[in-house]
Every structure is written in C-alpha cells, then in structure tokens.
C-alpha cells in the first residue's frame, strides 16, 4: 500500500483488477483503493507476472502493507532497480561474518567481538507538553486529547478548524498544541458568560435537522392599526399574537419529539428574542393565545426593558414553546433564525420595505410595505408543508390586526 497522501494512514481495497498469473506492465494500475479523501490507484513498479495476492476487496490495509507479489525477470530488476523479496531477506540475514559492514546495522548482538561503550547517565532536558488535569470533526479523540480539551474548555466543534496529522486524519494532541500556539499569536478577547451561554445553546440546537421557509407578508394594515393605537404595540407583539393564535389552532407543530411521541405544548407561552450587549436573551410572554394585544402591551414592554437591563429572572426565561425574533429591527430583510435547543419553532420577521406589488383589483402595481416572514423548524417534527400552512395562517391573521 503506497503512501497515497500526506495524512493518509490506510486505504480500503475497492477492486483488484488482476489475478494470480496475470501479466502486467510497469506502472499499470492493478488495484483500486479508497481513502477518506478520494479513490486512487495502486500501480506496479515493473512488469512481471502476478504470483501472489495478499489482500482482499472491501478490506482496509495500512500504508506499507504488502498487498501482493510479482514474479519478475532479472533483466527487469536490472532495468527498473526494484528491490526483490530475496534482496530484502538478505539484508535481514543475521549471521553476519565477523567484521562485515552489516553486522552493526542489522543485528545488534551479532558478532562476538562486537562491543559497545556506554554513554554516561543523562538527565532529561525536554519539558514537553504540560500534564493535563483530570478532530477533523468527530473522529477518534484520545484520552489525552480529551483531557487537554477539558482543560482548555474546548469542544469538538471548537477544534474543527484544525487539520489533523494523526491516523485517519485525527487531530492529535500535538496538532492541538501547535494550533493553540499559533492562535495565541493572534489578538484575542475573553468571551463573556453571555457569549458562552449563547454559543452553548446554538451548538446544542444545531444538532437537529433544521430548515427554514419564508413568506412575504403585507404590513400595511398592521402599520395602519398601530398608528391609531394608544399605547402603540410593537410590530413584534402583532407577530407574537398572530403566532400564538395560529399555534393554538395546530399545537402539534410546536410539539417536541421524545422518542416516538410528539409532546404537545400545555400553554402558549412564547419567547421574544431581545438583543443585549454581546448576546441575546429570550424572555417568555405567558398565555399569549388568551390575552389580547392591548392586554399584552405592558407585560411585553416590561420584559423587553428588563431584558435590556439584564434584570430577567430564571422564571422569566423558562417554559417557552416557541420564539419570535424581529431581525428587521437591525435593517435585515432576510434571515434564517435558529430555534432554542428545547423548542421546535422560531418565527422571524425582516424589515418592512416599500415596494410595488401587483394588485389584481386595479390591475396595476400598487405601493405596499412588505416584510419577509421566516419560520425555522426542527424537520423531525414539522415538514415544509406544515410550516407553510402555519406561515400562511400567520400572514392571514396579520391582515386583520384589529382581531389580534
């Protein structure tokens, strides 16, 4: 098995194209192998006849393994300079003549008169790697690696940037240390606890198959309603109410999967993403389906205010069944938000944009304010169709803001 690439340690035999007795030319590809990077060929070193095949299709062999033997003529050996088995055996022969140059090289305790002068005792001067206390992705992580990662607070996701030089491309502890040394030459800042909390939540959420569907929604009616209201509900609150009503009509879509069951929500408590310094908090508005828009204004305003001031309690953050996020407030029109790890759905809305839309009634383009609605869902629980229906319903509800 030849060395097929810098970090390749082994390859699987896909196809052996010859049999014992087959005549082959020099540089002929006779075996097809697959590494974790590509399919490659093993070629002959010279011409000859296949005398032995020592490998099997479908099996993996390390680089350097003898896969087969060719019978070659002496002229061919002379022509190509290949090393025969016999020559290799002779090199390994261990009854050397006294004084022969091979004596020292191969068998240490060969000749009788051979002797060895001891070196004086030494003390180790190498400090080496620090002792850890207590992958190209998710490959084998050795105990030492794991201990070192624990020591540094790293997860597998954190080391995905490192190319591994170990067997099968694994990241070895030396690779890690080199990378860390390298990264330490870059400017860095300490991640805040908020940042780490968000990182952890997003990482956990991402372990699921998430998909996003979008729908443009006309905001004119909502904006109109809002202008005439006092106090003025935020756009997000309209969305919150529409979402809650739509969900109450189809609770299963906000359910979560536990084994073979879909667990439905008991109460339509929906969270609202609030951007704070260096992160996001998601306070939960309770029983949104049962409270009208005016009833929610004060509660919502209080949660958002406390959120920004970092005065939310644990109770404020628990128990949500879905989340609403208004990335339009940042001027964004499109987004693919990520649900919280314990929720199946997140509904986002982008910025409203004035644009011409076709009116069937007047058969002309009329100005309207449109925003993108985006619904990201855990595809194990909800499909595109279900998500689509939900979005359509929400859009419908938003066209009758006075009923919210």
């Amino acid at each position: 098995m030849p060395q097929l690439g810098e970090s390749i340690a082994e390859a699987t035999i896909l196809r052996i194209d010859v049999a014992v007795g087959t005549l082959v030319r020099a540089d002929q590809e006779i075996i097809e192998v697959e590494t974790n990077k590509a399919v490659m060929g093993v070629t002959t070193l010279c011409s000859g006849t296949v005398s032995e095949i020592r490998c099997q299709e479908g099996v993996s062999y390390s680089v350097g393994t003898l896969l087969g033997l060719l019978e070659v003529t002496e002229e061919e050996v002379a022509r190509t300079g290949v090393e025969t088995m016999e020559a290799m055996e002779a090199k390994r022969s261990i009854v050397p003549e006294p004084g022969s140059p091979r004596a020292e090289a191969n068998l240490h305790f060969g000749a009788q008169d051979d002797s060895y002068e001891e070196a004086p005792a030494v003390v180790p001067s190498v400090k080496g790697l620090p002792v850890p206390t207590g992958t190209m992705g998710a490959h084998y992580i050795s105990p030492r690696m794991r201990a070192r990662m624990d020591d540094l607070g790293l997860r597998e996701a954190d080391i995905s940037a490192i190319a591994g030089t170990g067997a099968g491309g694994r990241v070895t502890v030396e690779d890690l240390e080199r990378f860390i040394e390298y990264i330490e030459t870059w400017p860095s800042s300490q991640a805040s606890p908020m940042r780490l909390a968000v990182a952890d939540a997003m990482r956990r959420s991402w372990t699921r198959p998430l998909a996003t569907v979008g729908l443009p929604v006309r905001l004119d009616r909502v904006l109109d309603h809002r202008r005439k209201s006092d106090p003025k509900p935020g756009l997000t609150l309209y969305l919150l109410r529409a979402f809650a009503i739509a969900l109450s009509e189809d609770p299963a879509s906000a359910g979560f999967l536990m084994g073979e069951k879909v667990v439905h929500p008991r109460a339509f408590d929906i969270g609202v993403a609030v951007q704070v310094d260096d992160g996001v908090v998601v306070p939960v508005v309770r029983k949104v389906d049962q409270k009208s828009l005016p009833e929610l204004v004060a509660e919502y305003a209080d949660l958002v205010d406390r959120g920004r001031r970092r005065r939310l309690t644990e109770a404020d953050l628990k128990g949500g069944i879905a989340t609403v996020t208004n990335f339009g407030t940042f001027g964004l029109t499109l987004g693919t938000p990520i649900p919280l790890p314990n929720e199946t759905l997140i509904l986002g809305i982008g910025a409203g944009v004035k644009k011409p839309v076709w009116s069937d009634q007047v058969e002309a383009f009329v100005p309207a304010t449109e925003a993108s609605l985006a619904l990201t869902f855990d595809h194990r629980v909800v499909d595109g169709g279900g998500a689509g229906l939900l979005l359509k319903r929400i859009s419908e509800l938003l066209q009758k803001p006075e009923a919210l």
Binding site: A9, N106, F109, S115, E118, P132
Partner: protein, 322 residues
C-alpha cells in the same frame, strides 16, 4: 581501562565477601572453576571458606540459603542459568517469598540468574524469568542494564533484608563495557531515563534497553524523531512515577521485554499506565515481547524470536503514526 558487565558482578561479590562476613556464595562450579561464566573467578582463592561448589540440587541450594538467611547470613546463590531456577521454584516462591509475611522474619538471600538469550543457546539456556518471580509477593526482582547498575544493584540487593532475584543478562556479560564503575547510582526502585525524547516513550529493561536505544537512533536518523527510552532497572518494585512522567511528556508508550508475551513485565507496565495515566495517552499503549514459543536454537530463528532494533523501530513507527 574498561570494565565489563561481568567484571562488575565479580567486583561486587568480591567487595561483599571482603566487607561482610555474613555473605557466602553457593552455586555449581563457582569455586575453583570460577563459575560457568567466570562470575566468581578467583574468589574462592581470595576468600577461602566463603565460596562453595553446590551439587546439582537447585531446590536444596535455595532451601539451604533460606535456612542460612534465617540464621543471619546473606547467601548469594548462583543458578548456572536462570532456566534451571524452575527446579528451585518451590523454595523460592513458597519458602523464601512467603517467609516474612508468614513469620515476620525476613530472608535476606540473593539469587543470581544468568538470564536472556545468546545465539545458539536454545530453549533451556535463554530464558528470562523476571515476570514469573515478580508475580509472587515477597520478592524483589532486579534487571540491571548497565555496568554501573550491575555493580551497585548487586550490592544494594544483598543489603536488602528481603529475598532478591537478580537477573543478570548473559549477553551483556562481555559485550557491555564502561570506562569505570561510576560512583553515582540510583537506588533500587528508581528507573532511569537512558535517553530523553518527546515523541514516544519506550520502556525497557536489561538487554532490551540497548536494543531500544538502537531503534531510537534509527528513528532519529529517519525522521528526526526523539524517542525517550526508560530503563526500569528493577522490575519489582516498578517505578511508575518515572514511567508516568515520561508518558506525560510524550503521550505514547511502547513497553519492550525479552520475556514471553503472555502477561509479564510489559503487560504490567501497560496496564498500570492505562489505569493510572489514561488521560496521558494520545495513542493506545503497545507491547513488544518475544514470540509465544520456546526460545529457538538456530541463530536465525533466535534473532527473529526476540525484539530487535528493527522490530522495535517498526513498533515505534506504528505508535507514532497513530
């Protein structure tokens, strides 16, 4: 002026006979003849009444040594070959090794075992028995790899109140030389870093230390690898502190021994590193021993039976490529 490994053993015995009246030597052909390997050459003449030719009765030789040790003597019994100590196995492991535990009276005897293979010696003149004796509680098992250790560890071993199995390697007798029996030495129970390194640790003892050094040289030439070689020096007690510190430096371990592969010293080292230093290992720990057959006679077979610099190098390369 150079001193061989066997000179060191002889010198140590001479010093003991000279300075400690409790010491006497008992073994086959060790008196006028000076021993099969000449480990006691000249000692019977220099110290009359202290060096005895024993009958071919390994069991009784050890029984006698135990009785004498109970009565305050410090006998050194030379087995002509380690292989023949199996005849004395009962007296060593059941009489000598259990005595302190059972009666509270220690037995300060020393058994010298000429161990290990030389070309053409065959199955009954080549064995390495350290693993068998280390298995029994109540014995100290020493495996010196250097001329200095051959000298000092014999002195230190005889000074212990406990029974000592001193495994001297036959190949090293005349092959290994040093400028002198260097004054500084490590105590029993401490292993030595023979060669510092950072990419992998090779733990070895006795003659295998030298083979490991050759393999390490090879790897240095080949790819600039720095392989650390640890000489255990005493198999029991086993210096796990040094071994673990080495594995902490390198993350990779290969334990090499000349004994048979089932169990033994290399298995003990690997088991302890796996248990006590699991988080230090970046690769699965490896062992390399002789093959699972009796030691063959023909030099070509013999050379392939035990670890050599080549086979050690192959094992190290495998370890490094993980």
């Amino acid at each position: 002026m150079s001193v061989t490994y066997i000179d060191a053993i002889r010198e140590a015995q001479a010093k003991l006979l000279r300075e400690d009246p409790r010491v006497f030597l008992y073994g086959q052909d060790i008196a006028t003849f000076g021993g099969a390997f000449k480990a006691t050459k000249g000692l019977a003449e220099e110290f009359p009444g202290r060096v005895y030719d024993a009958p071919i009765s390994e069991d009784a030789m050890i029984g006698l040594a135990v009785g004498a040790a109970i009565e305050g003597m410090r006998p050194i019994v030379e087995m002509q070959f380690a292989d023949f100590s199996s005849v004395a196995f009962n007296q060593i492991v059941n009489q000598a090794a259990t005595h302190f535990y059972r009666t509270g009276v220690p037995v300060p005897l020393t058994v010298r075992l000429p161990s290990g293979g030389t070309p053409g010696s065959g199955p009954f003149h080549s064995q390495s028995m350290e693993s068998i004796y280390a298995h029994y509680p109540g014995l100290v098992v020493l495996t010196p790899a250097t001329v200095t250790d051959a000298y000092h560890m014999l002195l230190d071993g005889v000074a212990l109140d406990d029974p000592v199995i001193y495994c001297e390697h036959k190949f090293l007798y005349r092959w290994l030389k040093a400028k002198s029996i260097n004054g500084e030495h490590l105590p029993i129970g401490q292993a030595r870093i023979t060669r510092p390194g950072k990419h992998a640790t090779v733990v070895a003892y006795s003659a295998m230390v030298h083979e490991a050094i050759r393999a390490a040289d090879r790897l240095q030439e080949e790819g600039g690898w720095e392989i650390e070689v640890v000489d255990l020096r005493s198999v029991k007690p086993l210096d796990m502190d040094t071994v673990l510190a080495s594995v902490a430096r390198t993350g990779r371990l290969l334990a090499v021994g000349e004994a048979f592969p089932w169990g033994g010293v290399t298995a003990e080292v690997v088991a302890r590193v796996a248990a006590e230093g699991f988080h230090l290992l970046d690769a699965p720990p490896m062992r390399l021993n002789a093959r699972d057959t009796p030691v063959p006679y023909h030099p070509k077979l013999w050379a392939a039976h035990r670890p050599t610099p080549e086979s050690i190098a192959v094992a190290i390369r495998q370890l490094l490529s993980f």
